[in-house]
Subunit: 150 residues, 2 copies
DNA sequence: GTAATTATCTTGACTCATTCAAAATAAATA
DNA sequence: TATTTATTTTGAATGAGTCAAGATAATTAC
């Protein structure tokens, strides 16, 4: 799905050109799951130093629209991307350090889609973000009790 | 809870001063559920024209930290606020026009807190956003089939 | 009630992820 | 290989939100 042949096929089927930035961006996100845009730009430039940030932004948006990438953007954080799409999984975000991890859906396939009263909206996606503390930050909090750096 | 006496009590218990901007901001959000910051600033200035935008930002942040307000910020949208807090309800957002509505939790009290595998994170909140189309935009889409303005 | 203290507000500049736009480039087609 | 035009480069612009210094007003002490 996210192999270099895979992206070619998807792009051509969407009548989009297969360009170096696009292929490199998909490869970068595959290599760096949950990476932010800055990290992706750096990763792309390891291989292709002349790619502009604009091309990365454009590619990220295009690949997201084509369903090859998924964008995650918790409150107060910049956008991040991942290649794991279409399996209804969610994310945990650490309130302290911003670390992000995947979480499979609690109840099964796509349970949260069944809102009790949806006011006539036609719902196509339930996005779930769990907030808490990652293991490291839990330790740090208990280790330095009072005067913790916030 | 969100009455003018209520906010006084909460502020004093938190050793915070009861100021005009703070009371006005809470009143504005109460009067305009799901309002964005700009709307809140305008509403506050109806009564108190000299209040600065900075004071509104500060008040919103403080009231949110004190648990009197809740911030909602779906991807690609600016922050919005509501006074309905602590009852574990969620939101539907229209992909087309950005309209936002409340949705009660599907399965009961706080079901989504039970992530299947939480990687050692200690989870304290499950934030759920449903994405779809509001009734108006559904009509608009079916009415103007092909050349719809996106 | 008045004065002193200091949290809060005003003002205005600043940040920074993201977007816009014009000219240059390169992927696809003939 | 030449042509067409989607993409990319470059560099400026946007805008929600933040920062910081001095002014103001909510509270406390008298």
């Amino acid at each position: 799905m996210t192999t270099s042949e895979g992206i070619e096929k998807v792009l051509r089927e969407a009548s989009m050109r297969v360009t170096r930035p696009r292929v490199a961006v998909l490869a970068a996100v595959t290599a760096h799951p949950h990476a932010d845009t800055e990290t992706i730009i750096e990763a792309v430039r390891q291989e292709h130093p002349l790619v502009s940030h604009q091309a990365v932004y454009d590619s990220l948006k295009l690949l997201t629209n084509l369903g090859l990438l998924r964008q995650i953007q918790p409150h107060g954080h910049i956008a991040r991307y991942e290649t794991r799409v279409g399996d209804n999984h969610h994310h945990v975000v650490c309130r302290n350090c911003g670390t992000l991890a995947d979480v499979d859906c609690a109840v099964g396939a796509a349970p949260c889609l069944h809102a009790s009263d949806h006011h006539g909206f036609s719902i196509d996606e339930a996005e779930v973000i769990y907030w808490g503390l990652c293991p490291d930050c839990q330790q740090a909090k208990t280790a330095q009790p009072a005067t913790g750096t916030v």
